[in-house]
Amino acid sequence: MHTVTLTKGVPDFREGQVSFDEDGHLERGNTPTVMNPNDKHALRTALQTKVRHGGRLSVMSMGPPGYGDVLGEAMESVYADELYLLSDRELAASDTWATAITIATGLQKLDETPDLVFAGFKTADGETGHTGPQACWCLDWPIITHVIALDVNEDEGTVRAKRLVEGDIEEIETVKAPMPAFVVADPEFEPTYRTAGDRLTLKDLRAETRERAKNHEEHLTTWDHADLNLDPDYIGLDGSPTIVSSVDPIPKAPAEREATMVNPGDEDGMNEVFDAMAAHAGGER
């Protein structure tokens, strides 16, 4: 069993980390890069598969060399064996189309064809949700999206999954596909480890990875466009048909109420707070 999880580095959008210029544009240089938070659903699915079926687990990403640390973070959270980074100046400014071609090529270059590829739900910066399905389309493999439960039958070479189908009423559909296949986990996916055996395997993996993640660079393979044998005209900016014409900042909602800061140690201040609250204690506003 060999699985690959795709991940992406995104700006850390958490309060206090993210930095915008006065026009409301993201200042990438002043904002740390972290693993796409939405990729955790893919990682959880991959980890559950590894715990239940063993085998190799690789993590792949496309991005600048600094993404090595993002991959290190992914290694720790998913107890990965190997890391692959597709990184090259020629790959810069790729849209989802060019990225999908690059990723699909990277997946084909692996010495052992993956049985399953876990793609993230969507990225926190682009939010397209395209890259995984497009990469799958390039490979002409089946894809199962919105997965909430997964069962691999290694003997049959199939994967069976429950997926959420949203419509007038929410339905759960059970589907089966031959491997290799792409799987996109829904945020509703909750990994379950209900046997002592699974939890002990998790504990082993955690202990193994703690050592490995300290030197994650040693487990990192970096491929450029030449390694991947990709024509620069079909990748990067030149290979990207999408044009972003403009970006508008979302205006902040104006605050209507005034806020006063009170130190909890300040007795007079706290008394004022209680007095103010007491006026509404009857349930009036």
């Binding site: 439960a149 069962d151 069976r160 379950t192 209900r194 046997t195 002592a196 939890r199």
Partner: protein, 582 residues
């Protein structure tokens, strides 16, 4: 696709050990060394986060097993200072008479070390995980075992526990495994319940109850921060030395029990252990009794001016003389340590963890032997036999006490002894006995200690009279101020199991449950931030006093299971109070 609990196919291990304290660790290590596939399930976020000790751990010369024998390196890595000096202090007001009982302590003692449970148990858990992993099992934390799996006469396997409220008797059928909160049921050929003083498994099997306060002690402890240098200087000891001190007399408002102080590497353990029935009878506020010890002028020489309490904790202690189950097994299930009431507490002797270690190893050996003879189901009987053969049961339930208590623990004898002691004749006798060196000898005698009746006389009256007749006044003044109960609760770490209260008050009348307000170590009369409180409710113009409960600050000691009318279980794995010192 999704695992369910209704399938007939359960995960199976040869042995399941529930609880990673000293009893569970000893059992699991011994099972693993004998090649038994063993899984250990511990409900704390880390081993040692759910229990506290006074605490000293003993290695007895007469015991077949010691913890460092089973887990080499224990003393270097898991324990604090050894006890190299042992004193008992008799207190009357500010008068104190001290006896050196080191010699008595050393009798049958290979070594005795002070320990803190978080450090000790988590070190043991790592070793035990390594050993058990090699057998195909291992140790898991954050998993709460909540009941027994039984197979009925038709071969149907289903969970059963005492509180399930099923129509048929939940204890019908043979025990074949355990049920867990976080995992699917697990079947096993051998189940070791080392799940502590409030063992849910012992209850599910009907082997222990929590009914009589007379069968229990309650311990309340503070871990006090103190640099190693300061300990060395104030106690006059070196890094590799340590002291134990016991306290009894009139400083506890007549509540039967005593205090202790043990030196750790860079902290002190200071606390009290009282008979629970006496706490209830005297309506004692146990946190105040801890403060009575901490602020006694005798302790000023050791505590200095800066008092920094690292942790406040409490624990129920079974009185093995009455609570130790003489036949601690049913089918594949055996009880080990506190779960089986195996805690010897008599006079100045307080030994629990060493007995748990011995019992755990004996239980494991009993299974290995039973299995090798092709009769794994006889493990329980073999375990019981070994407890008797190795003298463990005789230490836990000494015959001397059973005879002496029949004569000594009644009102007539007690009143007679009290009046005699307090008479000029009795007081002269105390002085004469001291001159002859008999008092020091008596305190150091394990024989006398095991005969000591559980009455006021040895705990309160005799020490008080000794101190009055022979003591000297302590000159030091105490300056420290222990934290309030609210502050103590505030310093504890909790991962509250929101929406899942683990204790339900069955009867909120003051008659049934009022004793919990004072006896609970995190509750007090007139204190609103604790577990139990008394409230006045108005109904149809009548005023009624009732008891109410909020389990948020619960330290899971189990006191209220005995003194109040409750229905209880433990919080789920990793939830509830987390002791960092223990």
């Amino acid at each position: 696709m999704e695992a369910t609990t209704m399938t007939d196919e359960h995960e199976h291990y040869e042995a399941v050990v529930v609880g990673a304290g000293p009893g569970g660790a000893a059992a699991a290590a011994t099972l693993a060394r004998n090649g038994v596939e063993t899984v250990v399930l511990e409900r704390g976020v880390d081993a040692g986060s759910k229990n506290v000790t006074g605490g000293l751990i003993y290695a007895e010369e007469s015991a077949p097993y010691t913890i460092d024998g089973l887990l080499p390196g224990f003393r270097e890595h898991a324990s604090e200072r050894p006890v190299t000096d042992y004193y008992i202090h008799n207190i009357a007001g500010e008068r104190v008479k001290t006896f050196d009982i080191t010699r008595g302590h050393e009798r049958d003692t290979e070594w005795a070390d002070a320990v803190l449970r978080r450090k000790m148990d988590s070190w043991m858990a790592e070793r035990v995980h390594e050993l058990t992993r090699e057998t195909g099992g291992g140790l898991l934390t954050g998993v709460k075992v909540n009941g027994l799996l039984r197979e009925d006469s038709e071969g149907r396997v289903r969970p059963s526990d005492a509180s399930s409220g099923e129509q048929s008797d939940p204890r019908d059928g043979e025990i074949v495994g355990v049920t867990c909160e976080e995992l699917d049921p697990i079947e096993a050929d051998f189940i070791v319940a080392a799940d502590g003083v409030n063992s849910e498994l012992a209850r599910a099997a009907g082997l222990m109850d929590w009914e009589e306060p007379e069968e229990w002690f309650q311990g309340v402890k503070a871990v006090v921060d103190m640099p190693g240098d300061a300990i060395n200087e104030r106690f006059g000891i070196d890094d590799d030395e340590g002291e134990a001190h016991l306290f009894s007399g009139d400083l506890y408002d007549g509540v039967r029990g005593g205090g202790f102080l043990y030196t750790n590497e860079s902290s002190l353990c200071i606390g009290n252990v009282f008979h629970l029935d006496s706490i209830v009878a005297e309506e004692a506020e146990v946190q105040d009794l801890l403060d009575a010890l901490l602020t006694h002028p005798l302790l000023a020489q050791w505590l200095g001016e800066e008092y920094n309490e690292r942790e406040y904790s409490a624990k129920l202690v079974p009185d093995s003389k009455k609570a130790a189950n003489p036949s601690p097994h049913e089918g594949r299930l055996v009880l080990v340590g506190d779960a089986g009431g195996q805690m010897q507490a008599q006079g100045p002797i307080i030994k629990g963890m060493n007995h748990a270690v011995t019992a755990g190893a004996l239980a494991a050996e009993a299974f290995v032997e039973a299995r090798s003879r092709g009769k794994p189901n006889t493990a329980g009987e073999r375990y019981e036999q070994r407890l008797h053969d190795e003298g463990v049961m005789a230490k836990l339930r000494p015959m001397r006490y059973e005879i002496a208590s029949a004569a000594g623990e009644n009102d007539i004898t007690t009143n007679l002894a009290e009046r005699l002691l307090d008479s000029p004749l009795g007081r002269a006798g105390v002085r004469a006995a001291d001159t002859a060196g008999l008092l020091g000898q008596a305190y150091g005698s394990p024989y006398l200690a095991t005969m000591m009746p559980d009455t006021k006389t040895p705990y309160v009256t005799l020490p008080t009279i000794i101190a009055e007749e022979l003591g000297t006044r302590v000159a030091d003044d105490t300056t420290i101020e222990p934290p309030s109960l609210g502050e103590r609760i505030g310093e504890l770490t909790y991962d509250t199991d929101v929406g899942n209260p683990h204790i339900v008050l069955e009867d909120d009348s003051v008659e049934a449950s009022g004793a919990a307000v004072t006896a609970c170590p995190v509750s007090a009369e007139g204190f609103g931030g604790g577990c139990y409180r008394e409230e006045t409710v108005q109904s149809n113009g009548d005023e009624e006093r009732v008891v109410s409960l909020d389990t948020q600050p619960c330290v899971e000691c189990g006191t209220c299971a005995i003194v109040a009318d409750t229905q209880w279980e433990h919080p789920r794995g990793g939830k509830g109070v987390e002791f960092r010192e223990g």
